[in-house]
Amino acid sequence: MNRNAVIKGTGYVLVHGPDFVIHNGTTQTTERVVNPSSEYLTALPGHLRSYDKAVNYPPNQVYIGNLIPEDLAAYEFPWYDKEVPGAERYGRFGEIMPQDEFLGLVQACDVFDLVFLEKDFTAGVKEKLSAHPLLDDSILSRLKDGVSYEDIKSYVEEKHAEPLYNQGQLVGYVKQAHDIDASLSAHVLLENLVYKASGVLALLHLIKSSGSAKEDIDYVIDCSEEACGDMNQRGGGNFAKAEAEIAGLVNATGSDTRGFCAAPAHALIQAAALVKSGTYKNVVVFAGGTTAKLGMNGKDHVKKGLPILEDVIGGFGALIGENDGVSPEVNTDIAGRHKVGTGSSPQAVISSLVTEPLEKAGLKITDIGKYAAEMQNPDVTKPAGAGDVPEANYKMIAALGVKQGAIERSAIGDFVRDHGMPGWAPTQGHIPSGVPYLGFAAEDIISGKIERAMIIGKGSLFLGRMTNLFDGVSVVLQKNSGRRDGASVADLKEPAVRPVIGIAAEGSELGREVAYEGAALAERKGFKAIVIEGEDAHRKMEGMLGSGEIQAAVTMHYPFPIGVSTVGRVMTPARGKELYLATTTGASSANRVEGMVRNAIYGIIAAKASGVSKPTVGIANIDGARQTEKALLALKEGGYDINFALSQRADGGIVMRGNDLLTASADIMVMDPLTGNLMMKLFSAYTTGGSYESTGYGYGPGIGEGYDKLVLIVSRASGASVIAGAVEYADQLVKNHWKRIAKEEFEKAYKAGLKEILASVKTRTKDIDAGLPGDEVSSEAPEVPCKEIVTSEIHGIEVMDIEDAAACLWKQGIYAETGMGCTGPVVLVNEVNEAKSREILVKAGFIK
C-alpha cells in the first residue's frame, strides 16, 4: 500500500478591489440595468472601505495568517468596526494586494494584448510592483509602457472594451478578443484575466511558503468556478497551465477541476491520489477569484449602514507532495462523497460527508479535532439574512452526533465551540469551501493541537441549470504516522533518511541563480537541498528549522549570539587535503585567548561530526597562539583527548606556520575568526581572482555550547560549487548527529577542567594584552531593561567592546543584545531606539 500524500505548504491571498465592486460585481451591474438611478447605487461609493481598512479588518488578517481563527473568536461580533492593531499587508500565508498593483499584475498576466493601462498609471504601478518580493523580472518585464487617456476613452466608448478604474478614475481597458463571440467578449475576458492574475498571485505565495523550488512542481489543478474558451468550446479550460506559465512552473502541466464550491475539496482528493499513486510527486491545488461576486450582498450591507465587506477577491493554493514522514497526511482512505442517490436533505448530505466515512474508518464524530466546511465570514452573511454559515454546519454535524448517540443533546454548544471555528473567508463560492483551514490545519496537526481535521466541500449544482442535485466531498487530514519503521515525528526532526538542507541565499553578489545551481549540483551528488526565496527568507528559514521541515540551513549571513562561531572547511592546494578553519565568523568569546581555546573545541566538533574520527589540531601562529597552546595542553593533561599535530617545519611544535596552512599539516587550524575569515577567502577564491569563491565547503556551521540550530554560512561571493559543498557539509553533520557530538565534547572538556583553565587564561591575558577592554563590566553590571524585539543592527563596534557597548545602553534604559553580523559584531536594539542608541554609543566612543 502506498503512503498517504502530505500537505507541504499553503498560500492565501486577497486583492482589494473597490472599483471592481462598483463596475464589475454582478449585484451592481444588474442593478444598473434594472434600476440605474437606485438609492443603492447612489449610496454605494460612500460604503466602500479604504485599502488600509481592508488590511486592518480582522477576518482578512486571519486569511493571510497574521491571526489564527481563535484570535478572531476573541473579537466581539460584529467585526466590521474592529481593526487589528499593527495589521500588515503580508502574512505568513500570503498578502492583501492593493487594487492599483493588481491591475498591473492583470496586465502582466495577459499574453494576448488585451489589457491596456494609462501611461502615468503604469509607471506608478511598475515602480510599486518592482518592490514586490515575489515578482521577478520574468513577470515585471511583461508590463507594457501604457497608452493615452484618449485611447482608453475611444476603446471604451466605441470599441466594446471594458473599462478599468482605480479610485474612480478611468485607467485602462480590456479589449474584446472577437467581434461576435460572446465567450471572448471584453466582459468575459476581464473576469478571466482578473481570475488568472489572482490565481498566479496565490501560486507565487504558495511556492514561497512551501519552500519548494518552482522547478519541482509536476502538476497544477485549478479548482475555481470560472470558465475559459471560445464559442466552440465555452469551457475549454486549462486556466491551470496558463497560470503556471506566468508563475514560472516550467516543469508543470495541469488541468481544471470544476464543481462549484465543492471543487477545491474534489481537487484536494485528486491531488492526494495522484501523489499517493506515484503518478506525480508534487501537485498544486489552487484557485484565484474574480469580480462577479464582489458586493454580492452589498444591498443589505448598505441598507444596514455597514461598509461593503465583499470588497476583496480571494485566492489560495496548497502543495500536496510525497510523504516526508513529518507533514500532515491527506488520508484518502477516509473520504466522504455525496452520491447521485444520496438525496438532498441536510441530514442525508451531512451523513454522506461526515458520519459515513468516519464510521467506515471506525472513528467517532468527536475523533475529528476541527471540521472545516463552509468558512464564510458571518460578518458578511448575517446582515444579509443567510445566518452564520460555519456555525450552522457545526450544529448540523453535532445534531447528527446526537442522533447517533455520540454526544448528548445538551453538548451541542460545546461541540460547536470545540470542533468548530468562526468563519473568516470571503464569500466567493470555492474560496471559503473547507480549504481556508488547510494552512492552520497543517500547523495545528504538527503542533499537536489536534490529531485530525476534516475538510468538507459542498456545492450547489442547480445554479448551472443542469441538475437539481446537491454535491459534496470530504477528506480527513491527520498527523503523520512517521517513518515506516515506527519512528515518531519527534525522532524525525533529528536526522531523517535524507536530510533536507534549506538554502536562504538572498543577496548573493553572483545573482539569485547561484543558489539554484548550488542546489542542483548538491542534488546530483545525492543531497537534498531546497532554495528559500524572498526578502523574509531568514524568517521562513527559522520557521522551517523549527518545524523540522529542514534539518539545516545554508545562508549568507546570520546574527549568531556571542559564544557561537563558525568552523570553515577548505581544500588546501599543496596536498589537496581538507582543512577545518576554527573559526571563520562569529565570536566564541569577547576574550581573544578564551575564544581561541573554545575555537579548538568547536573545530574538533565540526571535524568529528563530518566523519574525521581523530582529527589533529594545530594553532596558527598569530597573536595569542602561545597562551592558547598552554591552555590546550592543560586541557589535555586534565584528560581531554586532543590529538595535536606537528608543524612541517624543522622545529616542529603545535603552533603552525604559513606553509602548514598550505599543506594542511593539521586537520583543524585554530585561529581567531577575523584571521579565519581572511584564510577562508584566500582558500576559496585563490584560483579565480577573488570575486568568485569556487572551492571548498564555505564558512561552516555556527557551533557553541547548547546552540542547537544548524546554520551554515557561505559568502555573497560563494559560487554554486561552494554552496553545494556547504550542503554536503550540512548533510554530513546531520547524519553524524552533530548535536550529540557537540554535547559529548563539551562534557569531556568540562570534565578536564575547561572552566578553570578559561578563568586563568582570562586573568593572565589581562596582563599580557594590557589596554584591551577586559571583563570589568561584570563587576558592576547594570540592570537589564525590559526585553523587547531587537531588529536594528548597529555595526562598527570592536568585538572586544561589544558587551560593554550593550551594557552602556542598558545603563541608559535601552534594551540591547549583542550578536555577530556578517561584517562583524553588532549591537541589536529595537528600531525605535536605534537613533538614540547610536547617539549614546558615539558619545561613549564605541562608534564614530
Binding site: Q347, R409, I412
Partner: protein
C-alpha cells in the same frame, strides 16, 4: 426569496390557482423564513422580483411547523428532517410564520 423562485411561484399560482397552492419553506432561521413567507403572501418586500407589488396571499408553512410535521410519515420525517429540527430555532420560526399567515394569507 430569489428571483427565479418568485417567478416559479407566480407561474404556478396562475396555472393552478392561488387557492390550490401551498408553499413549503426550509429556511434556516425565523427572519429568512418570514421574509420568504411575506414574499408569497403580501408581495416581495425588496421590490426586486416578479412578486413585487403582487399579493398572492398563498398558504405558506415551514417544514418544521407542527401542521406539516403531522402530514408526513413519521419514519420519513425522522430520516429527512429530524436532524435540522434539532438545529433550528423552531419556536422562533413558528412565531414568524404564524404572524405572516395571520396578516396576509387569504386562504
Amino acid at each position: 426569496m430569489d428571483l427565479e423562485n418568485q417567478k416559479r411561484v407566480k407561474e404556478y399560482a396562475e396555472q393552478y390557482g392561488s387557492e390550490n397552492l401551498v408553499v413549503l419553506l426550509g429556511a434556516s432561521e425565523g427572519e429568512a423564513a418570514g421574509l420568504a413567507a411575506e414574499t408569497v403572501t403580501a408581495g416581495d418586500p425588496t421590490y426586486a422580483g416578479p412578486l413585487a407589488g403582487v399579493s398572492l396571499g398563498l398558504k405558506v408553512y415551514h417544514i418544521c411547523e407542527p401542521e406539516i410535521k403531522a402530514e408526513i410519515d413519521e419514519a420519513v420525517y425522522e430520516e429527512q428532517v429530524s436532524m435540522m429540527e434539532m438545529v433550528l430555532d423552531v419556536e422562533d420560526i413558528i412565531k414568524e410564520m404564524s404572524a405572516i399567515r395571520e396578516q396576509y394569507t387569504k386562504y
